[in-house]
């Protein structure tokens, strides 16, 4: 035989109150969990974006004309990978001078003629001939021109 429990009015009201309180707590927990999940997703996205910079670059300014079509069509991930690979194996990007600088004290006595680096030597406009002597009388010998002061390279 079934047992029938009949709650009086105050007792029923107390059970309802406990149930409502539990539901409210559950709602709060749900909100915290959802908010936390959203925040964690955002944080993870940000960290990932910073860990792999360059994902948004669509055109390589360094060599825009030499990128083959398949590479251009590849996705951001492929470009990241290619870029990382290039960084691992690339050659120096800046070119050294044709010859290293020398101490000026060592070169001040050099007597070698000027050398051409990028263009043939100029002819009529490059040199001023030394003054010619017009008389047979002894004249002071022209002194070698003083070396010009060096050009200054410093912070600006």
């Amino acid at each position: 035989m079934d047992r029938v429990v009949v709650m009086s009015g105050p007792l029923r009201a107390s059970a309802h109150a406990r149930r409502d309180a539990a539901l409210r707590r559950l709602r709060r927990v749900n909100r915290v969990l959802i908010g936390g999940a959203v925040a964690a997703t955002a944080l993870l996205t940000d960290v990932t974006a910073h860990a792999f910079p360059g994902h948004a670059r669509r055109v390589s300014a360094r060599a825009p004309a030499t990128v083959p079509a398949p590479a251009r069509a590849a996705g951001a991930h492929a470009r990241q990978h290619a870029r990382h690979h290039a960084r691992q194996h690339r050659r120096p990007a800046l070119r050294p001078p044709a010859s290293a600088p020398t101490s000026a004290t060592a070169t001040a006595t050099a007597t070698a003629p000027p050398a051409t680096t990028t263009a043939p030597p100029a002819t009529s406009t490059t040199t001023t001939p030394p003054p010619a002597t017009t008389t047979a009388a002894p004249t002071p010998q022209p002194q070698p021109a003083p070396a010009p002061a060096p050009t200054v390279s410093g912070g600006s």
Binding site: P53, G54, A56, R57, R58, V59, A61, R62, P64, R87, P92, A93, L94, R95, P96, P97, A98, S99, A100, P101, T102, S103, A104, A106, T107, A108, A110, T111, A112, P113, P114, A115, T117, T118, A119, A122, T125, T126, T127, T128, P130, P131, T134, T135, A137, T139, P140, P142, Q143, P144, A145, A147, A149, P150, T151, V152, S153, G154, G155, S156
Partner: protein
Amino acid sequence: MTPPPAAPPAAPGSTETWSALGTTVVLRYEGPPNPAARAAVERELDAIDHAASRFRSDSELSRLNAMSGPGPRTAIAGPLFAQAVRLAIHAADASDGAVDPTLGAELVALGYDRDWHELCAVPVAAPLSEGGDIVVYRSRRPRWEEIEIAGDPARITLPAGVDLDLGATAKAMAADRAARAAHEAAGVGVLVSLGGDIATHGTRPAGGWTIHVTDDHRAGPDAPGQTIAIQSGGVATSSIVTRRWRQGGRAMHHVLDPRSGEPVRGPWRTVSVAAATCAEANIATTAALVLGHDACAWLAEQGLPARLVALDGSVVAQGGWPR
């Protein structure tokens, strides 16, 4: 009859000095004065000023930075501005971001929003720590890889919130271009110095071009430093003791660390580098100041002759730089 006085010895070359781009221009070439050489240099400097100056509102760079809107900004660039932007991106790429062209907003925020001569300058001789230590308070995300440039004529797109500053590369590029233009105009070997960024082109004098490297290009050839000779290419020097100003009680300087957007605080005060061009030398000097303790290894990897002066004045010469 008294013989005429002897003519003075032939001059080994000509040197002209004037001001442009907010700094000192030195033009040196073989032979007697030649107006065509200076005219060629002035044309190049005027062109780069109109293309890439951050201090004139009508330059292509300023107009691109000033474009409003919430999203990326796009403009068609002239050939010279496009070349300057491409070089700036190459500089960032070659230095793994140490030389960053997207620091325009940070420089303005630090007070470098006008021509250098209008700022409250801190004397070169002042201690580096004057005005209190510079505090790095944030981490900055590099944005230079988001710059897009393609097509002919070039179409440049800046990401939202990014302002260009080409100060680390445009002046050196102008020196290279000016030296070439002067050489082509005058037909002689030419050296051009723009505030200490030195480019050469054409035949060299016997013994090479003599250059004195020091902290400040305005100090003159007698300042503490070293005198060298180069046969070709360029030499650049970057320093944190020059171009300093004060803001908020702090002494600032113009070499910023892209990782923080704040003035560099590293072990070096001045770095000089020789390279195939002045632009490449200047990329290397700026990168070395930013890279700090990693600079020597990076410069060695590039194979560049370099002279690094530490904060205490000690000197490191490497890569074939004379000792």
